[in-house]
């Protein structure tokens, strides 16, 4: 229980000084797993920014003379190809770092999209109530009963996948979850005094929603969305693996892993090492997201 002791505001100190979001973040930042996750995450990001230029390597340049060079500790590895090279002699370290950038970009963009759209729809449904609420919530019910993968392979399998369509499919699949959370939070806020006070003072509905309700309900949701970034990155890798994600020559984890399956027995590193980098990055995101989620639960249950 020492974790709680550090982060709970000391008695006497005014607890309401900081915003809800800042409280959650500070409490999470005190947790050990958040720090571990943050260190790994920053390290991987720095690596993906610096390493390609520092090593002077390209992600798409062929070098057939150097093909199937094994990764670092294995005998026969060639400087500076720490992760080895693939069947065309492309450097796997740089390829996976670029793939990581792409995956992160898609993950973050799609989560922001589903967060914005889902929260907007959910808040309107919860605030207006009545028929709007009923219809919107039945739509989310329906959508939540299709697994993301089915929706994604149905749409992407029959259209031409580009980064934009991949992001759009993720948003389409992910918004109902956010809509539900935002709706139930808005419904409980709607009757509170500050909302009524704002209305009596003449605030329009839009103003009440955006200026008064949103800052209270959205930060907790936004923190949990961090976990979804990791989920979307996994989905992106899966789509790339099946061959309906972002298309080559842009390196993504999915295509790198799929390329390597043909050479799994001779050149095991093509598949495994980039995947390991993906797993480590995802783990760092999940550790941070998990810490944020737990501190949110603690604060929301403790305060309200």
């Amino acid at each position: 229980m020492s974790q709680q002791a550090i982060v709970q505001p000391a008695p006497g100190k005014p607890a309401k000084h900081r915003s809800l979001g800042a409280n959650i973040f500070l409490q999470a930042a005190g947790a050990g797993e958040f720090r571990i996750g943050a260190v790994i995450f920053v390290g991987v990001i720095l690596l993906s920014i610096i390493a390609p230029t520092l090593l002077g390597l390209s992600a798409t340049k062929f070098n057939v003379g150097l093909k199937f060079s094994p990764p670092f500790p294995v005998e026969g590895w060639v400087w500076p190809h720490f992760f080895g090279t693939d069947q065309l002699g492309r450097d796997l370290l740089v390829r996976s770092l670029i793939g990581l950038r792409n995956a992160l970009m898609i993950g973050i963009a799609s989560v922001i999209g589903m967060f914005v759209i889902g929260s907007a729809i959910g808040m309107v449904a919860g605030y207006v109530g009545g028929w709007t609420n009923l219809i919107l919530m039945r739509i989310t019910d329906a959508q939540m009963s299709i697994p993301v993968i089915i929706l994604a392979i149905t749409i992407l399998g029959v259209t031409r996948p580009t980064p934009l369509t991949v992001i759009l499919v993720f948003i389409l699949a992910g918004w109902p979850g956010y809509a539900r959370i935002a709706r139930s939070a808005t419904m409980s806020e709607r009757r509170k005094e500050y909302v009524r006070a704002a209305k009596i003072l003449g605030a329009t509905d839009l103003r009440v929603l955006l200026v008064h309700i949103a800052p209270n309900i959205l930060p907790p949701v936004a923190f949990v969305a961090v976990l979804d970034v990791a989920r979307m990155m996994i989905f992106e890798a899966i789509l790339g693996f099946i061959g309906i994600g972002i298309q080559p020559p842009t390196p993504t984890f999915g295509t790198i892993i799929a390329d390597g399956t043909k050479y799994l027995l001779n050149a095991w590193w093509i598949t495994t090492i980039p995947g390991l980098l993906l797993a480590v990055s995802l783990c760092s995101i999940n550790l941070m997201g998990g810490a944020l989620e737990r501190s949110r639960n603690k604060i929301l249950q403790g305060v309200s």
Partner: protein, 329 residues
């Protein structure tokens, strides 16, 4: 009893509406995207008039809503249509072999294709659930009973790591290490039930963190409820309190989780894992159908998996209300 009848009629009616809505969505999506299935059935060498005739014969040129109405009518009679490309003898007739091999009556009924692949998928899913519950339940309960201490931390870090392993990558690593290098288990295809173990392990790794988290949170929050100390004050042992009351009360969120999250998760991951291991289940059928634009198969599987989720949800809600009568659905 009356409650049960009322509950099921209400929920089944809602569920049916949801399934029809999903069917309409998938149906429309498949028809508005570019790509003509007739071309895939007959191959590129067929003249435009023949292609057009076949399309008309199959009803592919009618307005979408007419096609959908006809389709739903057939589905209600248990007829999910016939595959566009697979022949009844197995193997696919699509591609470049020309019109001579194409015969509308010789194509495999979708319902048969699903019936032959479904048992494999059920075996795989069942095995995955067994493995994950066997690992996750003890770990989750142990972590929940020791909230904040090292078992809790262990469960936390373990599930953070497991949830970060992409299933495609993990599957390949398993194939490489366990099957190719060590030779302990077979991996590709299906000959007997041992072929299901490796894919089931991959699915289980995906399920375990979700179950562990939910069980440990549920158990630890139930331990803080007043009824635990009241029971102990009244002379029940802690062991009896935990086994008879805490675990029972913790099972409601677990049921919810198993129903909604876990079944959804397995349904989604099944497709990828079966594709990866070339396991002849419903997921492989679906992915191949997507590549071949075999619309009837895609529609039928989407409807089936959605209906399965809806039914599981209803059953879970019913079970929860039977355990805890205060819950209202």
């Amino acid at each position: 009893m009356l409650f049960a009848i009322d509950f099921f009629t209400r929920r089944l009616a809602q569920g049916a509406i949801i399934v029809v809505a999903i069917a309409l969505l998938i149906f429309t999506l498949l028809r508005v995207v570019p790509g003509d299935p007739v071309r895939l059935m007959l191959g590129p060498m067929v003249s435009a008039t023949v292609a057009e005739e076949t399309a008309k014969e199959l009803g592919l040129r009618d307005p979408i809503i007419v096609q959908f109405g006809r389709y739903i009518g057939q589905v209600l009679q248990g007829d999910f249509g016939r595959s566009f490309v697979r022949s009844a003898q197995g193997g696919s007739t699509g591609g470049s072999r020309g019109e001579s091999t194409f015969d509308a009556s010789n194509r495999a009924p979708v319902i048969d294709l699903i019936a032959t692949t479904l048992p494999y998928s059920l075996l795989l899913a069942g095995l995955a659930f067994l493995i994950s519950l066997a690992v996750a339940l003890p770990l989750g309960i142990w972590a929940g009973l020791n909230a904040g201490k090292w078992p809790d931390r262990l469960a936390l870090y373990l599930s953070s790591i497991l949830v970060s392993l992409p299933n495609v990558w993990l599957g390949l690593v398993f194939i490489f290490l366990i099957s190719a290098k060590a030779g302990w288990l077979p991996a590709i295809g299906y000959q007997n039930w041992t072929y299901a173990i490796l894919p089931a392990l991959v699915l289980a790794v995906e399920l375990i963190p979700v179950i562990v988290r939910s069980v440990s949170v549920s158990v630890s929050s139930n331990l803080l409820e007043p009824y635990v100390s009241v029971g102990q004050i009244r002379g029940l042992t802690r062991r009896r309190m935990i086994i008879a009351h805490v675990l029972r009360n913790s099972s409601i969120p677990l049921l919810n989780l198993l129903g909604i999250q876990a079944v959804g998760l397995v349904l989604g991951a099944l497709f990828v894992v079966e594709y990866l291991f070339n396991y002849p289940g419903i997921g492989l059928l679906m992915i191949n159908a997507v590549f071949q634009r075999d619309f009837p198969i895609i529609q039928a599987i989407a409807i089936f998996s959605c209906a399965a989720l809806v039914v599981v949800n209803i059953l879970v809600d019913f079970a929860s209300t039977t355990i805890d009568r205060r819950l209202q659905y």
